[in-house]
Point group: C2
Chain length 223, copies 2
DNA sequence: TCACTCCTTAATGTCGACATTCGACAAGGA
DNA sequence: TCCTTGTCGAATGTCGACATTAAGGAGTGA
């Protein structure tokens, strides 16, 4: 039907409508490209000038970035890209491990044979891309892996927090993810998670996922 | 010294400075007093008129309320007090239980004899106030109890989320807390937590705190 | 009666200008 | 030298007005 076509067309072309959303994406790009580094200040006037808009939508975007932990706000002073201490890095990853560990544990019985097949394939892909030093694809496939892990949970509150955390950690540290572990280690570490789910041992699952993230955080914190 | 006196005086008198903070507090009061109920819309123009200020600080305040989960934002439509379904209530309490359960478990060895004395006293107080049907004090002492429980944790990321969750749940449901359980049940439920910490059994501690909150959420969800 | 279109209304989204406040640096005195 | 004080610049905080858009009702046709 034409109605559907129209809707899907709109969905494709007008994904970003308000200036606020464009600003958020712009800042994400600045961070991912390295043009913006921890400690840098985001000056509203400067951003407004660069994007050819007023400060109002800039301020709106700042609030969203603050909510997602990608900007530190100091009243009457300004907005800064956060500089995470080693402990703060570990804390963030630990919290993510606590939340996702619970999510996976709680939903472990919903994983089908097809799901396990997908998970195994994703692990293989990660190891293969790691062997080819294609760090970008390692990160992408790793994202799919973790998305599938928590996809069974329908705890909206928990997913809200895990989404925020994974976004924050992705933006701030994705550059390191591909080089943290050897291809063999990457495969082994993620296989460990899949195996724990297959075991249906609740405590083991939760502990495995938790330690996976704590290990990752500890490693990043020591870079 | 006069320097100290001056600082403490300032800290006492100039707590609320910006209009934004005043708006946030104003909305909290509206919620706590019942003048604002789930489903109600917060119209920027109306709030601005009521407080004699412009819409700019109102919008700033909305962002903070959204971040804390006390306002639902619908683009181009407005800001609404969230209407939580029974499942959403349970999800929120479950998530709080997961986070605080981990926090308490991880710090259980730091509780001193003095801490346990305080915890026991707080439980007694709660039961006593419950017997007197002083629901307000039950809630307040309960807050002190839970604050002490997580006070040992220095995981900033985890505390950030637990603070947001406890604030949200307090604002939305504090009215019910005093009447959920009998005085005996209140004492028993909280004693169970203290006893688990005394046992130093990590799994038991985490499980106890978790179930404490899931139970509470389930009970509130059925009201 | 029902469905569709148009229009009005009221809310949010954005703008440019002004007010306020923090931080740094320079000047002065113990 | 160190501490205090005053000034200045630059950034955020706030304002009132205008632009844009979503929701609901009036009106028309079958």
């Amino acid at each position: 039907m034409s109605t559907f076509d129209k809707e899907s067309h709109e969905a494709m072309s007008i994904i970003k409508k308000t200036y606020k959303d464009q600003v958020v994406d712009y800042v994400y790009q600045l961070l991912l490209s390295g043009d913006l580094s921890p400690g840098d200040q985001l000056k509203e006037s400067l951003l407004a000038e660069q994007m050819g808009i007023s400060r109002a939508p800039i301020r709106e975007a700042m609030k969203e970035l603050i909510m997602n932990g990608l900007v530190d706000y100091r009243p009457q002073v300004g907005n800064f890209i956060p500089v995470l201490s080693p402990k703060q890095i570990i804390d963030s990853y630990t919290t993510r491990g606590v939340l996702e560990g619970f999510a996976v544990m709680e939903t472990c019985r919903q994983f089908s044979g097809e799901d396990f097949e997908k998970l195994d394939n994703l692990v293989d892909e990660m190891a293969r891309f790691a062997h080819m030093s294609n760090h970008k694809m390692v990160v992408q496939v790793g994202g799919e892996f973790h998305d599938l892990l928590i996809s069974k949970s329908n705890n909206g509150q928990l997913l809200e927090y895990t989404d925020r955390l994974s976004l924050k950690l992705h933006i701030l540290f994705y550059k390191h993810w591909g080089r943290l572990y050897s291809p063999e280690e990457i495969g082994a570490r993620h296989n460990k998670i899949v195996e724990s789910i297959k075991s249906q041992d609740l405590d083991r699952i939760e502990k495995t996922v938790r330690e996976h993230y704590i290990e990752t955080g500890t490693k990043i914190a020591t870079l």
